[in-house]
Symmetry: C2
Subunit: 248 residues, 2 copies
DNA sequence: AGCAAGCGTTGATCCATGTCAACCTCCTGG
DNA sequence: CCAGGAGGTTGACATGGATCAACGCTTGCT
């Protein structure tokens, strides 16, 4: 529970309690016993509020904690010297941020809030300590890291082997599935990121993203109104990913 | 130390000993004390030989162990239903394979030997058990996973934001650096993978890879003879990555 | 040792996506 | 509540890399 002077953020003095949290089954405590989860409460320090477009952490900063998203959403990105940005992921509630920092004890990417958000701060040294005692925590933490690796491989597949429309379809399906897991509609949601950010994530220019959205709409697959998306033909989108018009 | 009947592999009955291994500082034991490393020897089961082009594991197979490469090299890839392949990485001695399997207890990619190779088999349940006792092991294991995440983000950057020649230059620099870390020449090495595999990894077609090699050679940056690469102008390659001719 | 198949190179052409530009829309902050 | 700027759409055109094709070279298998 350490204040950082460089960034204008608020550390609410409210103890987060995993045992009280409704994100349990999406978050770090997943699969742990009730007794184990109660012990987690000693692990999670304070919550921290991050306003839209503010950084939770920056590339190069010292690594001390990982973060569980309680409300809101984030993007992570990597910057090249010449200013090019690669968005490496979009994270929503229950997902864990900051795992990249473990390897060098410095963060290697930036995490930026896409809307006013709140995270639980999990001191990393305490996490290691506690996961030596609680088998379930250790195992779940490993799963979270491994899942991130698997996700990354999926993104490589997107970027390396799929065409523009396949990438966007896969992206929408992924969002839909994650919204569903959080109890929201699988078919209707608001995008929290811009076309430019989607483009960066998918290795496309924003114009290409915009055109693909329009084409999906013309084809009756979705309806788009700015950031509001309604999926009309989920199977149609799935077919786009699995049997693209002309594979690359 | 469990035999797998499905794949024709050899499990040598030689106990691997981390304490005797010269790959220490590249592998899981990095940063651990001598006492700690001695305890590791109980963790590493048998070694396993994998012949060129054979699978170490396949996507969908149950996950039981991770593997440390003792000799040789591997590629990992993900397959789409329609047969498209995305190579997600090339691994060399001391690097760890199989981390993707933790999240679902099934492997999510294929690992194929690029040459006759040998790996140390590390039973995963034992690893968790031992890393609850040995702080150094726990920490190093986390670092290995985190490093993989950081590496993946670098690949996303490649695939999402860089042009063909930048990608290949970055790839060569990365190989050079990893060969150096293993005591080989930074400037001269043999590629163990085909143009097609490089292309898949970099999101390019094999012809594009071949043309880029030729262009680097014409430009006096490298000399290529099939799989034999000699880097002539390391800085020239670096400039290609950091200040591409015309950024995307 | 010999030869076929896989791997690599190079050229010509095409097309998916990038680039540039104009314009529209809708929040968002004062 | 209004104004201005950021975000989004669409069109016209350019181009990097894909595709198709032909051929040469190893290399690894018998």
């Amino acid at each position: 529970m350490r204040m950082r002077a460089t960034v204008p953020i608020t550390v609410a003095d409210i103890k987060s309690a995993c045992s009280q949290c409704n994100l349990l089954e999406l978050c770090l405590p997943f699969g742990m016993s009730e007794t184990e989860i109660n012990r987690l409460d000693e692990l999670v320090g304070a919550r921290r509020k991050v306003k839209r477009s503010q950084h939770l952490y920056r590339s190069g900063e010292g690594f001390e904690a990982i973060y569980a998203i309680r409300t809101g959403s984030f993007k992570t990105d990597v910057l090249l010297e010449d200013g090019r940005e690669q968005v490496t992921g979009f994270q929503m509630t229950g997902e864990i941020l900051g795992l990249d920092g473990i390897s060098t004890e410095q963060h290697s990417c930036n995490a930026v809030a896409l809307e006013d958000s709140e995270v639980c701060v999990i001191a990393y040294d305490k996490l290691e300590e506690l996961s030596r005692e609680i088998e379930g925590l250790q195992h779940q933490f490993h799963k979270v890291m491994s899942k991130e690796i698997v996700r990354d491989h999926g993104v490589m597949m997107l970027l390396g082997s799929m065409r523009a429309e396949e990438r966007l379809a896969a992206f929408l399906l992924n969002l839909s599935q994650r919204f569903t897991a959080r109890g929201f509609s699988p078919a209707e949601f608001h995008l929290r990121m811009t076309r430019d950010e989607i483009g960066s994530y998918l290795g496309l220019k924003l114009e290409t993203v915009s055109r693909a959205f329009s084409k999906f709409q013309e084809g009756g697959l979705i309806s788009v109104q700015q950031k509001h998306i309604r999926i009309i033909d989920l199977d149609g989108l799935r077919k786009l990913v699995h049997h693209p018009a002309s594979p690359r």
